[in-house]
């Protein structure tokens, strides 16, 4: 894959998010967005005047409004500024970050603000998802955003007892993390002792995917401010540097339930990871990264994709989950924020992964800050029909010297 060198470095200098919840009936869409914008500007010590360009994104059709970027001008502060609207499905949040990085790195703008939001309560998620399905082949057969075959795959690979247990362990870890994050939508105070009971009693949605294992539907927004190296150093005491990112798209809807070994399409998770690490000279991601904010729509996928993103084999990833090495304080903390299972305002969700990873690099994550210093962080986005975006963040600008 041809990939050019960055024209100039880009730093993250402001991060803001709303609290995420099932109902934000106290604010309308621009008002909710404004909360995140105000928080990001305050974090960066800037005013709207300092921002050159707005990149706006959400899930098209989920709120049943057209041109949301125009509706939201009052909240985003985009009046009179260059604005782009992006919508790439579940990945959109982190696509906003990739685009902002590219816009600044290119020299087109010095300061760009990315804003991702969703008010899922206002629209019809399944209606929106069903619109994603090809009307010729698949719309009549859609099950919405729910798929159960990953559970089947892991049960097939690791046996029923171990697979179900590791999925629930992952789920409980996410719940414990969410309990430390004041912005998280859901935290039930689950404990590992409840695993067997939850395995038995949580209602099944699709296949062995249980209600407790699936991500939430949330309302919320996230805003992140990106600046060129010169401005970042002037404006921020601790900018977080965007090292590299990769986006892998693939046909097609039919594969959403799984794939055949002989089918030509690659799994985008592992494909993205292998390509990104190769061009950055990283051979052992598990050793290199200090923290990983992963877009995990359900605990089954969380377990399986952790294996792919860390280039692990066999049951290495399962063991790390079983040994709680993905907890805050473990070898590779995954989603100290609680992840997507805790909060899922979709258009903001993938941007939150990057924002939370950047907070970890800065050491500003509060109660869910991991105890060791964070120099290298990884964030992922997921969407469409198994699309993947991966982004690497750095504390220092020293990787280019190597």
């Amino acid at each position: 894959m041809a990939h050019g060198k960055k024209n100039r470095n880009v730093g993250i200098i402001g991060i803001g998010q709303t609290r995420h919840s099932s109902h934000r009936e106290d604010v309308n869409q621009p008002e909710m967005i404004h909360e995140a914008i105000a928080a990001a500007l305050k974090d960066a010590g800037l005013t709207m005047k300092d921002v050159d360009c707005i990149v706006h994104g959400n899930m098209e059709l989920f709120e049943m409004i057209h041109q949301p970027d125009l509706w939201h001008t009052l909240g985003t502060g985009a009046g009179g500024k260059d604005t782009f609207r992006l919508t790439t499905g579940g990945t959109v949040g982190i696509t906003l970050a990739c685009a902002s990085d590219n816009l600044v790195a290119s020299g087109m703008y010095d300061i760009v603000m990315a804003i991702g939001f969703e008010k899922l309560q206002e629209g019809h998620t399944t209606g929106g998802i069903t619109n994603m399905a090809d009307p010729l082949w698949f719309r009549n057969l859609q099950t919405g955003a729910l798929t159960g075959s990953k559970a089947y795959d892991l049960i097939y690979e690791f046996g029923e007892e171990r697979a179900k247990k590791v999925s629930m362990t992952y789920r409980i870890i996410m719940d414990k993390h969410a309990g430390l994050n004041p912005n998280a939508h859901r935290s039930f105070g689950l404990d590992f002792a409840q695993a067997d009971d939850l395995i038995k009693n949580s209602p099944k949605l699709v296949g062995d995917l249980k209600l407790i294992e699936m991500c939430s539907q949330s309302d919320g927004a996230c805003a992140v401010i990106f600046a060129c190296e010169k401005r970042a150093k002037e404006l921020s005491k601790k900018p977080v540097w965007v090292r590299d990112h990769i986006t892998v798209h693939r046909e097609e809807v039919f594969n959403i339930f799984g794939y055949d070994d002989k089918y030509p399409a690659a799994q985008t998770q592992r494909f993205a990871a292998e390509n990104l690490y190769t061009r950055n000279g990283i051979t052992k991601p598990l050793e290199y990264f200090d923290v990983f904010e992963m877009y995990d729509p359900a605990s089954w996928w969380g377990v399986d994709w952790f294996r792919d993103f860390m280039l692990l084999k066999g049951d290495e990833a399962v063991k790390l989950v079983e040994d709680h090495e993905i907890m805050i304080g473990g070898k590779m903390p995954v989603n100290p924020s609680g992840g997507v299972i805790a909060s899922n305002p979709i258009g903001a969700t993938a941007l939150l992964r990057m924002a939370e990873a950047a907070l970890q690099v800065r050491g500003d994550a509060g109660a869910h800050q991991i105890p060791k210093p964070v120099k290298h962080a990884l964030a992922s986005g997921f969407g469409g029909t198994m699309w993947t975006v991966l982004m690497m963040l750095e504390k220092e600008l020293n990787w280019q010297e190597a």
Binding site: L136, S149, Y152, L205, V206, F254, N255, F257, A265
Partner: protein, 480 residues
């Protein structure tokens, strides 16, 4: 965009209102030429087609206009795929929602149809969710009423037993052990048939006259013969009967072509008995007919017993299309029979009427035929006898001691003839040489599909299906 329902306000939070609304969004989606052909072929022909990439060889289903891998334009490169396939993965929908296709719980499976490289999603019905397994075989059930949508395939269901190809019937019975001292006369005491032997099923793959314009399933090339023979063996055949063909379909007496065809079958399926024709095709000389048998030395070969009309007539009007005399003099019967016995080729004695059987018994007085003799009662040739149950019994009763009999019928006679043979303790020959159709009148997908019918018939009679080695033991054939 139309707006339905009433706008209303509802007090849902202390001091915040939520505006309730509802939108109904009709839409039109243009299927494109590729998508249109896919849907209309399912609708009009109940046939599923994909597109094949000539660059990488992948067959896409549903069809695409370009290859995902190499971007080759594949819009005109249509191929048929089967309506049966394998479950690659699946999921069970357990939550209830109005938009769902069925009432839960129901199964959506990724199904890779035979001949396709990409799986497609569809509903899998007709079994309990807990019985679905990766790798299970399923087949399409087409909708009775068309909607010109993907739901013209109404759903998939577990593949019916009849169409379960690829697996020989399980031998849940004791292996057949020959009793050399007992002949059919001893066993059929009191008019009771001897049903102790498993049924030897022979597939006559091509003959001299079945052409690809009648059925594309008929083999011409050695590799086509080999593949077809293999499928027949998998379905339950112990023997294949072969007339070798040129690439253009003409029957041939060329030793090299016949040997190549014979060897290709043996290489693909070493266990199978290959039975070569000594008739070859119309207008061949006696020398051309027997020299190839001596040269190739198959385990078995056909031996024809009387000179007769062997013609092509319109069965409805009686109009003659091709008139031909099939010459089999006493001298030929003697010389061919001797040549076969001397070369270790077991003759399959073709009986087109009682006279042929009598001719054989006259020549048999010379004493060169080895026991057991194996007869094939042939029905429905224009020039030979038509199938009649009394004639069948008469032929059977005229057989010498220890002889075996099998039967084949042309066209509609095929299935009734093998049924009667089965009931009387005889064996069965099917295949596209004799008949290109299934009992329901549909074109057979191959000789193997008729073999499945024979297997079913044999199993219904409780006789089981002979393995090739059991067939050798019964017919006195020495394996090469």
């Amino acid at each position: 965009m139309s707006e339905e329902g009433q706008m209303s306000t509802k007090n849902t939070d202390k001091d915040s209102f939520a505006v309730q609304g509802k939108l109904a969004l009709p839409y039109t989606y243009f299927a494109g030429r590729v998508g249109s052909k896919f849907l209309t072929t399912i609708r009009d022909q109940k046939k599923i087609m994909g597109t094949k990439c000539p660059t990488c060889g992948k067959v896409y289903l549903p069809p695409r206009q370009v290859c995902q891998k190499d971007f080759t334009d594949i819009r005109n490169n249509w191929v048929d795929v089967g309506s049966s396939g394998t479950v690659v993965n699946f999921t069970v929908v357990r939550y209830e929602d109005r938009h769902l296709a069925r009432k839960p719980p129901y199964v959506i499976a990724m199904i890779k149809l035979d001949g396709a490289d990409t799986p497609m999603a569809h509903i899998l019905d007709g079994l309990k969710p807990e019985d679905v397994k990766k790798g299970m075989r399923v087949e399409a059930v087409f909708a009775e009423k068309t909607t010109t949508t993907i739901l013209d395939i109404d759903h998939f269901k577990p593949e019916a037993e009849r169409a379960k190809t690829g697996w020989r019937p399980k031998a849940a019975r004791k292996p057949y052990v020959p009793e050399p001292e007992s002949g059919i006369e001893d066993k059929r005491r009191g008019g009771k048939p001897d049903m102790s032997k498993p049924v030897i099923i022979c597939a006559a793959l091509a003959g001299a006259a079945t052409m690809k314009n009648q059925t594309p399933a008929v083999p011409y090339t050695p590799s086509e013969f080999a593949e077809d023979a293999y499928k027949c063996w998998k379905a339950g055949a112990a023997m294949v009967h072969v007339h070798a063909r040129e690439d253009n379909g003409m029957p041939t007496h060329d030793h090299e072509r016949i040997r190549t065809t014979h060897d290709a079958i043996k290489q693909r399926c070493p266990e199978l008995i290959v039975n070569l024709s000594s008739a070859v095709g119309m207008g061949k000389t006696a020398e051309q007919r027997i020299s190839q048998i001596v040269a190739v030395k198959p385990e078995m070969a056909s031996l024809n017993t009387n000179t007769m009309n062997f013609s092509l007539l319109d069965r409805k009007s009686g109009k003659i299309f091709i008139d031909f005399v099939f010459e089999n003099t006493f001298t030929m019967l003697q010389d061919f029979g001797k040549a076969m016995e001397e070369n270790g080729v077991k003759p399959e004695i073709e009986v087109y009427d009682m006279g042929g059987l009598d001719n054989t018994m006259l020549i048999a007085k010379q004493g060169f035929f080895t026991n057991p003799m194996n007869f094939n009662f042939v029905w429905g040739v224009a020039g030979g006898q038509a199938f009649r149950v009394e004639t069948f019994v008469a032929l059977m009763n005229a057989l010498p001691a220890k002889a075996n009999f099998t039967t084949c019928g042309v066209g509609l006679d095929q299935f009734p003839a093998i049924m009667q043979s089965g009931i009387l303790g005889g064996h069965m020959r099917v295949g596209l040489e004799d008949n290109i159709r299934m009992p329901d009148g549909e074109l057979a997908k191959g000789s193997w599909e008729q073999v499945e019918v024979a297997v079913h018939a044999a199993e219904c009679l409780g006789r089981g299906v002979a393995t090739p080695d059991e067939a050798r033991a019964i017919m006195g054939i020495h394996k090469r």
